[in-house]
Amino acid sequence: MTIPKPLIVQSDGTLLVETAHPVYPELRDQLVRFAELLKSPDHFHTYRLSRISLWNAAANGCTPELVLTLLHAHSRYALPLHLQQLVLAEMNKYGSLQLVSGTDCHVLQGDRALLEAIRQLPGVKEHLQGRKRTLLEVKERSRGPLKRLLAQHGYPVQDLVGYLEGEPLSLELRTKTRAGHALLLRPYQREAVRAFHAEGSGVVVLPCGAGKTVVGIAAMAQAKTHTLVLTPNIVAARQWRRELLDKTDLDESLVGEYTAEQKEIKPVTITTYQMLTYASGGSKSKTNKTYPHFERLNRERWGLIVYDEVHLLPAPIFRLTADVQSTRRLGLTATLVREDGAESDVFSLIGPKKFDVPWKEMEQGGYIAPTTCYEVTVSMAHDWRVKYIEATQRQKYRIASENPRKLDALQALLRRHEHDRVLIIGQYLEQLQTVGELLRAPVLTGKTPTPERERLFELFRHGELRVLVVSKVANIAIDLPDANVAIQLSGAFGSRQEEAQRIGRLLRPKRDGGESHFYTVVTRDTIDREMGNRRQLFLTEQGYAYRVLDAEDLDKPPEVHPV
């Protein structure tokens, strides 16, 4: 008997691939060219083929023949017809519309019927000028907004207008970091930089901990021009600055921080999304709204803009990004999947995907420490149970989350990990304060001033602090390289992005290559546990080993699990 083929193609664009199949390793490398990896549980991985993923593929030189031939060849069942038509239609779309420069305007070129259809789309008119029938004359400042609009209507535009050169800057990567470690780009990092540099703007997709910052810095070293770096928050901004100074020959005086605390503009300037989207003047009357910081920064001649954590990019940034289309852009992200479905904005305004490596592969390459996830279930005392039952649906989650018995489990876990660096994460401040007092550990919240936050991080990083209690702030782009255990006491009401972030915390490569652990403590027979089930699903789909433990068993010696 022949083995069934590995690929199952559903009509909604979902592709299931059997990972144990002998052709899987080759097939995977082909699939990531035109589909996004969505889930990677044990036996079957799920990829998604979408309009955007097909545009991305076409932008990288993939052809519909190639995609369809591959699908036909490996599909276990006949391919749904309309999916095949989708592949053909969407991939042929890319390149059928080109934006080039004209005199005093940009010109949108393409098939006459197509241009006519575009002329009729709502909202397009205001971006056009002139009356020519055979081509569309686009106002210069409409370069971004029009591309964005057309992408939303399902038309990808190939932007061939080109870029303005920024001020030159002498910038080299060091071979040995200032801290004294050897600096050598990993093969995939080199490949990512090369892919980005080959052509204009684009997005590099790398998992948390795979060294996205390094890729960004290497790209800067290649571009050698004045660069603006956008980061999600001030802590991440400082982290960038530290890394830049550590890994390049840039003088400290050339790297500026443009934040609420200091507003320096230097050849390399690091700022936050929040600064850019700060609006003044008539918050009510939308028309008079101005963005003083954005305008201030926009006056400089940047040759490159780096967007860190593109998947967190707030919507207003897209509008502003639409105005800087003449500058090269590099997006860095762990995933193109956005909770708000703004994938087409990322595509049209920052650029097509340039590089992607599946998480698991990184892990096998030893670039990410293996993580095991645990769910620790605890019981609830009678009085809390009564309280829980009587509470409204909304309160229930909080009551279950704050179950005091979680603290016993927490202490048991800490006994298990006496020699590890432990991060305790929670949603509710009161609970975190209690934990802090109980363990005599510092508590980091949104209110903790930045210097204090940085000082604590520094202590934790150097191992002088073993346990750190953090609220939601820890969720975004900060680097805690040596935490190898995280214990989540309570979480937001189940956002998958948040989950990925928390795991991402632990995935930073350890110098000793040791295993890391992610514990979630939940209350049995409550909505807390039900949320846990959703988390279990998400993590299983991400390909993590997942185990369920009873709090009562924690004091027993840990079982040895083969990894």
Binding site: T46, H72, P80, Q85, Q536, Y546
Partner: protein
Amino acid sequence: MRLSECLNSSDITTLRNIANAYAFDCSKSSKNALMQAIITHFQNRTFIAGTLDGLKEKEQTYRETISQLMLDSRREFSREEVLAMVRRTIQPKKEGHDQKWMNRLLSDGWLYRLNSKGGRQFYFIPEDLRRTIRECLGQSLKQQVQVAAQTPIVYRDENLALVRDTGVFLHYIGRHDTRITKDGTLMKRQQQEVFSLLEIKEEPLGKVSWRFGYGRRFHEYPDRFALIYDYCYARELIQETVEGQLILGPQAVSWQETGEKERAADLFRYWRLLYRRPIPQLRLCVNLLANAAKDDWVYAASVNALLAPYVKDYYYDKAPLVMELRIYNMLVHQGLLAHGQLADGSAVLKVTPLGRELLLQEEVIAEEVESPVEEALRVPLILQPNFDLLVPIEGAERLAWELEEVTDLIRVDTMRVHRITKSSIARCLDSGWTAETVLDFLREETGDMVPGNVERMIQQWESEFKRVQLQRALIVNCQDASIATDLKVMPEIAPYYRADLSETQFVIAERGARPLQDILRRMGYQADLH
């Protein structure tokens, strides 16, 4: 019947006429010599091809009649059938012209009038002659269509999906209370439900202006489903009741028992009959198409040109649309034709293996019959961490019962998507499954690939359901303890006895109510339930 048999059964005059028509050089008085001459010539492809080509110039319509006759799949014709065919092709129509042309067919040796056993006259085309002529015609048809240089990158062979979906529709009716409106249409919601279960997706009809002619319910349903419905109705697989219900018809069971190929052939015959009213030359069109596109992918546009003389506008449908929607698409739905697109977007057509079998009566080559059922059975199911269980469409039948118990069917796509839910597990635990038997079933069928979270969840649900269980029961209240004791031990009651509440009160299972009432009534006691 072979040519030699036909000739043998004909009288010498017939043979002489044939020999004269072609001016064969042979003895006209020896039947044997005539037969030899005719057979030698007619077996010679060059001779046949030359003869047909000779007609091309002046007698195009006569050639047309011959080709229609040869492309037809019937083995024998009645006199009326032959005349009808002649009348369709040969213009102008004069009194008795049909008879005249039929005589010409006979004297040219294309057609043989023979007596059948019952003494009636029938018209035969010798099998071997027909094959030779078909090959010649096929060659010339192929020259009329444009063969694609590359294979298409987009294509779909629907295979037996139509037959399977007909089965799914019948299954649905068997399982659901299916309602139809006063006009006889399925309720919109149920339409949607049925459509979501079919392999090939169609949307319920929106607003359409004109829609008629292609079947009894064609104006109510999208093309493919309309065919399924009308077929089921015509073959009495379903019935519409006066009360507005749709139920299985008397033939449903025996239909399910026939082979898939047979069902497909029956559907094809039904379709050809149904669509003949709006497309009178349908039979010919299908034959032409089948012969032109049997070996290679050919451009649909060139097939359009080939069929153009035989397809007319039909009220709201322009001729090209009739070809596209009513002929090609419907043949694609029946798995007889594959429709493809080249990289540049142009449409191409090719007859499928099933099509060759049904349309051209070809024996399938052995390697193409790769026992699909056997194979499908061994393809494992796929259980995903999100509790979706994907079942191969062809193997679903075998597991129908288990799947129905343990899962809910969500939709049908490339595979059938079933889902394990809390309520589906509750249901199957109720009917005697346990978490372990469910998991055993899943492990067995998925090749031991049950995600850990699903396994844990099913066990968790089981323990949840066991924690508190509500059961219906009956309290039996007696005046004194001795009656209670007597009742409890009666053989009819004992199996239902559950527990004592007091000396005079005890509990029995609800199912025990009926036997208890019977006994009490027999004893003359009051037995109403309060």
